[in-house]
C-alpha cells in the first residue's frame, strides 16, 4: 500500500433505514489532497463522511485511514471533523469560545487529567488563526452564525489533525466571509499540509481551489481536478443529464492558489 494514500475506500455500501444511500463506492485520497464532496441534497454526502469516520455502520466494503481499518482505528487525534449541524447546539449552554476550542484538545491520552500549558498554547494559536481573538471570551450562544462556524473549525484545528473533515462548514454567510474562509482552508492545505475533505455546494470554489472532487449521488465518482477535466461532464453524473454548471476557469481569481 502506498504511504501517500491516507484514505482508501473500496466497494463501500451503506444502507440507512432500508434504503441504499451509498452504492459500491471506491476511491482513494492522497496525503495533502484537498477534496470537494459535491452532489444533490439527499445524495449521500453526509452519509459518506459519517461512514468513513465509522460513525454509522457500513453494509460491506473496506475503509482504511492511514492504512488501518476504521473499525479498529484508534488514532483519533490525527483526524478532526466538523459536523453539518455543529452550530445547532443549545444556545444556553454555558461555554465560551475559548472553552469550546479547548475541548478539541480532549482525547484518550489526557483522560482524567487537566489540559496542560501546551494545550492552551494550541488553543490560543487556533483562536488567532481563525480570527476569533476579540470574541474568545464570549459565550458561544451569543455569536453570529458565521462566528460559530469559525469557532467549530478552530476546535477541529486545535487538535493538529492530519486530515480535516468538514460537512458544509460555511452556509448562510456573506460572499466576503466565504471567500476568506476558502482562502484559510487553502492556506491550511498548502502551508500546513493538512488533507481536507469538504462537503460543499460551492462548485466554483471546489473547481477553482481543490485538487480532487467526489461526486456523490448514491454512486460515487472520484476525479482529480486538472485543467483538462470538464466539470460538467463530472457533475452530470451526480446531478443528472440536464445539469449545467456555468464555469470558466479564468474566473478563478489569481490569488486563489497562493494566498
Amino acid at each position: 500500500m502506498d504511504e501517500d494514500h491516507v484514505l482508501v475506500v473500496e466497494g463501500l455500501n451503506v444502507t440507512r433505514g432500508g434504503a441504499q444511500v451509498i452504492r459500491n463506492a471506491s476511491f482513494v485520497v492522497n496525503r495533502n489532497d484537498y477534496v470537494g464532496i459535491v452532489g444533490p441534497n439527499g445524495g449521500g454526502k453526509t452519509t459518506l463522511l459519517l461512514a468513513i469516520l465509522g460513525m454509522i455502520p457500513r453494509e460491506s466494503g473496506t475503509i482504511k485511514i492511514f492504512n488501518q481499518d476504521i473499525a479498529s482505528f484508534r488514532q483519533w487525534q490525527r483526524l478532526a471533523y466538523v459536523p453539518q449541524d455543529a452550530v445547532n447546539f443549545d444556545p444556553n449552554f454555558p461555554i465560551t469560545v475559548r472553552e469550546l476550542i479547548s475541548l478539541g484538545r480532549v482525547n484518550r491520552g489526557n483522560l482524567g487529567r487537566p489540559l496542560k500549558a501546551d494545550d492552551w498554547e494550541a488553543v490560543e494559536d487556533s483562536i488567532d488563526f481563525m480570527g476569533l481573538r476579540e470574541i474568545s471570551d464570549k459565550r458561544m450562544g451569543e455569536l453570529s452564525g458565521g462566528q460559530k462556524q469559525r469557532a467549530f473549525i478552530a476546535k477541529a484545528l486545535v487538535r493538529g489533525p492530519e486530515i480535516l473533515f468538514l460537512d458544509e462548514p460555511i452556509v448562510g454567510v456573506d460572499a466576503d466571509t466565504q471567500e476568506k474562509f476558502f482562502q484559510k482552508m487553502s492556506n491550511l492545505n498548502q502551508k500546513r499540509n493538512i488533507t481536507i475533505l469538504m462537503v460543499s455546494h460551492d462548485l466554483t470554489a471546489v473547481f477553482c481551489r481543490m485538487s480532487r472532487v467526489l461526486c456523490v449521488n448514491r454512486d460515487v465518482y472520484s476525479s482529480p481536478i486538472t485543467p483538462t477535466v470538464d466539470p460538467n461532464e463530472l457533475l452530470r453524473k451526480a446531478y443528472g443529464e440536464h445539469f449545467h454548471f456555468v464555469y470558466h476557469r479564468h474566473e478563478c481569481r489569481g490569488d486563489f492558489k497562493d494566498e
Binding site: 460513525m55 472553552e99 475541548l103 480532549v106
Partner: protein, 247 residues
Amino acid sequence: MVTLACAWIGLFLILRKESMIVDGLAHTAFGGIAIGLFFSINPIIPALLISAVAVLAISYLRRKGIAQSDSAIAVMLAIGFSTGLIIISLAGGFNVELFSYLFGSILTINMGDLLTVSLLSVVTIVFLSLFYKELMCISFDERSSRLTGIPVEYLSVAFNLIVALTIVLSIKIIGIILVVALVVLPALTALQLRLSFRKTMLTTVFVGVVGLIMGLIISALYDIATSGVIVFTLVFIFAVSAVYSRL
C-alpha cells in the same frame, strides 16, 4: 459535601437535559428503602442497588431505542415506587422512619450515616474533578465526542452510577420528594448568569452550599421543616438570579 456533589451533578444533568432522572431515581430508591426497613438492614444499601439498576436500565432502554429518556424514567419510577408501596402494605403501614426518608431528616442524622454519606460524596466529587472536561465534551455534543477517542459509553455509565449514588445519599438529608430541588436549583441559578463553563461550575457549587447552610440556619432559628426551608432558600436565590440577569 453532599450539596456540593448534588449541585455539581445537577449542572451536568441539566446540560444533558436529564434533570428528571433525579426525581425518577429518588422515587425508585423509595422501593429500596422500604425493602431495607422491612428486612431491618441499612436502607441505604438496597436503595443504592435499586437505583443503580434503575439508572442502567434507563440508559439501556434509551440506547436500544425502546423508550425515550422521559418515558424510561417514568417506568422505573413507577416500578420502584410501587415496590415500596407493596412492601409497606406487607409491613402494615408507614412508620416514622420511612417518613424521615420521604421528607428528610438532616438534623437527626447519626454519626454512622454522616460518615457513609460524607465518604460517598467524596467519591462523587473526585469523579467529577477528574472527568469534568470529558463530561463537558459529552454534554455539549455526545456524537462528536466519540471522535475524540474518549470512552463515551463507559463515562456515561459511570456518570449515571455516580448520579444514582449521589441521589440516594442526599435522600437521607433532604428526602425523596425534594432531592430534585437540591440537584437542579443551584445549577439552574448559575445558568441564569450566563457565565463561562468554569464560572458556572463554581457558582453552582457555591449556590448549593450557601443555600443549604442558610436553609439550615433559618430552619433552626424558627423551628420549621428543614428540607422545606432549604428548598425555599434555593428557590429564593434562583429567583433573585433570574430577575437580576434580566435587569
